[in-house]
Symmetry: C3
Subunit: 145 residues, 3 copies
């Protein structure tokens, strides 16, 4: 992977063969980034994504292993058990241009992935929500109903 | 809903059972935000979305009421009749990871929705375009053809 | 097209009948923007998009010419042969709300397209990668493996 830091953002190029969630997680660790948000476009050749089944409190993932365009990637990084944790959803298209996607477990770059990453100077943390079964954002301000 | 303000942005957590367009609209009203832009990921369990039919100058909406991953949410807030007005499009995936979506009328959070909101210090307004049949952005600068 | 400059960002309205890649490219040229990133939502009535076939080092595009919602647009601008070059992927939905998309060759606005554009003060350039067959981002910093 390669990157550049500009105007408080990072442009990141994740290269063919590299794992995306792992690479972004390691990048945050190396750059001492605790929180951030990112988008991305590119193509992957291996992908595991799916959905959360609230009743069973578990994810159901499907594996894909052909070349797939990454048409939308939206993610955030906050702390989970004191480490930067990546939460990312994606939309993908196949060779018929049909779209699919979901919550991304992991994916491997097939051509290239171009990411715009905006670090945030906070230390927001995920905390387990027992009812939901997931570690949710723990934020200081309460909105009105 | 909960939120945090960091580096001129807001991280917002919209919680299970809350309506998204209503919550973002009320958030802007409460925080005295006139303009802004946002992205989001999460899951909803009720959704009304669709498309605009230009010839008839009306939206056609479809209702969905199962658990749906929100894989991409892209929206903006500008003034319409002096109040913050949310315009948001979304991509969603079902339990087969198939993607669908459109212009969002409203949706209800099913698990959680994580939003990154960037306020803008302008007071851009939507003005009705008679030919299009919609209130479009009224912007001060004209681009070259 | 119309635009406004706010807080270091641009809000751009691309109008019915205008080509999107051409308009963003000309906008960057006119505003002397070398690098940037953008998102967008709206509707188009003509679209050419597809995917990159790595083995053959070529894009396969499909043409669409009905009204299509633009539900997610994610793009960047960097230099290619000394000129601002737009790389943009999109997700679209049809009148059944089904999603499709890919790498965008060009598209024409059918109703309106609302773009949030963030200029970057860098001069990052694309350089041909012989193995990939595409001009990829050339970035100064190398990440750890």
């Amino acid at each position: 992977m390669q990157f550049a830091q500009i105007d408080g953002k990072y442009i990141i190029k994740i290269e063919r063969g590299e794992l995306v969630v792992e690479t972004v997680t390691n990048f945050c660790r190396d750059q001492k980034i605790l929180n951030g948000t990112f988008t991305g476009i590119g193509a992957v050749d291996r992908l595991t994504c799916g959905y959360y089944e609230l009743k069973e409190k578990k994810y159901y993932f499907t594996d894909y292993d052909s070349m797939i365009e990454v048409v939308s990637l939206t993610g955030n990084v906050v702390l989970k058990e004191d480490k930067p944790f990546v939460h990312v959803h994606g939309v993908f298209t196949d060779t018929k241009n049909q779209a699919f996607g979901g919550h991304i477990d992991e994916m491997r770059v097939g051509v290239v992935l171009e990411v715009i990453f905006t670090p945030l100077s906070s230390n927001i943390t995920r905390v387990l929500d027992e009812d939901i079964g997931l570690a949710l954002l723990d934020l200081p301000c309460q909105g009105h109903k």
